[in-house]
Symmetry: C2
Subunit: 312 residues, 2 copies
Amino acid sequence: MAITVVGSVAFDSIETPAGRRERCLGGAATYFSLAASFFTEVRVIAVVGEDFGPSEEAVFNARKIDTRGIERASGKSFFWEGSYLDNLNEAKTHTTELNVFGSFEPKIPAAYSDSQFLFLANIDPVLQRRVREAMPHARLVGGDTMNYWIKDHRPALLEVLKGLDALLINDTETKMLTGSRSLVLSAAKIFEMGPKALVVKHGEYGATVFFGGTGGSQSPEQLAHRAFHVPALPLEEVVDPTGAGDSFAGGFFGYLASQPELTPTAYRRAMFYGSVMGSFAVERFGTERLQQLSREEIDHRFKLFRELTHLD
Amino acid sequence: MAITVVGSVAFDSIETPAGRRERCLGGAATYFSLAASFFTEVRVIAVVGEDFGPSEEAVFNARKIDTRGIERASGKSFFWEGSYLDNLNEAKTHTTELNVFGSFEPKIPAAYSDSQFLFLANIDPVLQRRVREAMPHARLVGGDTMNYWIKDHRPALLEVLKGLDALLINDTETKMLTGSRSLVLSAAKIFEMGPKALVVKHGEYGATVFFGGTGGSQSPEQLAHRAFHVPALPLEEVVDPTGAGDSFAGGFFGYLASQPELTPTAYRRAMFYGSVMGSFAVERFGTERLQQLSREEIDHRFKLFRELTHLD
């Protein structure tokens, strides 16, 4: 089944202990769609500037990603500059230039309207909601957000959450959204806001999905039945953590979209594929590794995750 | 096979968001031996003061723990007071009174000398080494340490590491010991110091074991074959995180000591039992939950960990 993703397509200048790269092709929608493209058909909605040329277009084309929804505007593309020198788990932002993204009005090509899967990457919740409403046939809607929207745009974000099936955010965002220290209690609060599944991304510690169910107090037994954990792959070196979470989301959602039925087993395997795609993304700068990946490598790594977690 | 553990038996006054308790029975050797006692015979080496009375003794007796190595000295037992009000992952220490522990000279009962498993809980590395040397028949030796010994008693600690098969420490201690940000590179450095296995405890994110093997640069494939991850159980509320790591160590080491052979599968299951025992420890203050536990509850929870991590 096809996925439509709306989000940023951007250029990133990144510094990590492994080195520095200027103006890599990046943005949440780029990482997401590259990762998801190994599992299913992907369609992107975004806006780029005149600096987005044939070589950037070729990255999407090589993975057969539908770019008819990438609008070309006059001006420059979204640009982000950041570093991870002290802490690989947290980017320090040096520059954010919204550029053409500042006046982004998502336009959805008619050819996208039959997408049964929709992912709202981290952008202004007002835009997320608009895209959600324009895609009423979406059978599974996932979304991401960030501290800025949680803190300063809460009412708009709460409207988006009402229309989400799955929310994928990190630990800090989870605690900020709910005011609770406990991920379990946070999940319960988030289920009341709309989503039926919460994927909490733990960075180097992997990710946990919680599934909504009966409300009220939960015993450890009930909780364990309704959660699933996947670690991150231990790596000698994380070259560049940028886009790891978006790549996780692409693997997770891409795998789900490729399945005939959204069973609990499909969700568990989707968590594995999410962590697999995140593990590749961080091996090189920007989207370099995702561009050079094969499905065989992905399936091989999936087996490594099984070894890393399964008793037998 | 019997385990001998040397470490602190203490009283703790603890404050967490769930409340406050005065002078709970605690100490690393207490948590460790209670947790391990569900799997195998446990023998303790420690020192206590006159405030350690029949009711404390009864806690050990109820679990058939051999306390002949607990020396009674005149004065008061080790006392610790701390809180976890801002962050459940990190204790804030208010008071540490070494009391009788300040002049502790471990004495090993003759009846302990055939112990094939030895655990050196977090105490002065000079004492850890002395106990290690007095137990030459130990077939598997595990140990723990803390930031204070890593920072200010490094030469003595390095001597202890030479005699360890397995080191169990947390993320911060691992990075402090090796100066490396990467757990994988840290593990490689620690294998050069002596241990053949490194268990890194991640608090609410579980734990990862790394096994030593061939040196040099490792591919993700090689690494995944030589690592195993277990999450922590998601809980609605962590009542008191004190002793979670020692309970993990007790479950891990206790299970290993109960096995006829130390196979890779035994190590994997030991990681699960470690996290199982940690998950019980934090459900109530101090050692309350470990005192009231049954083997049936442990085995039931082991199955929950399987559900939480296994695809099928």
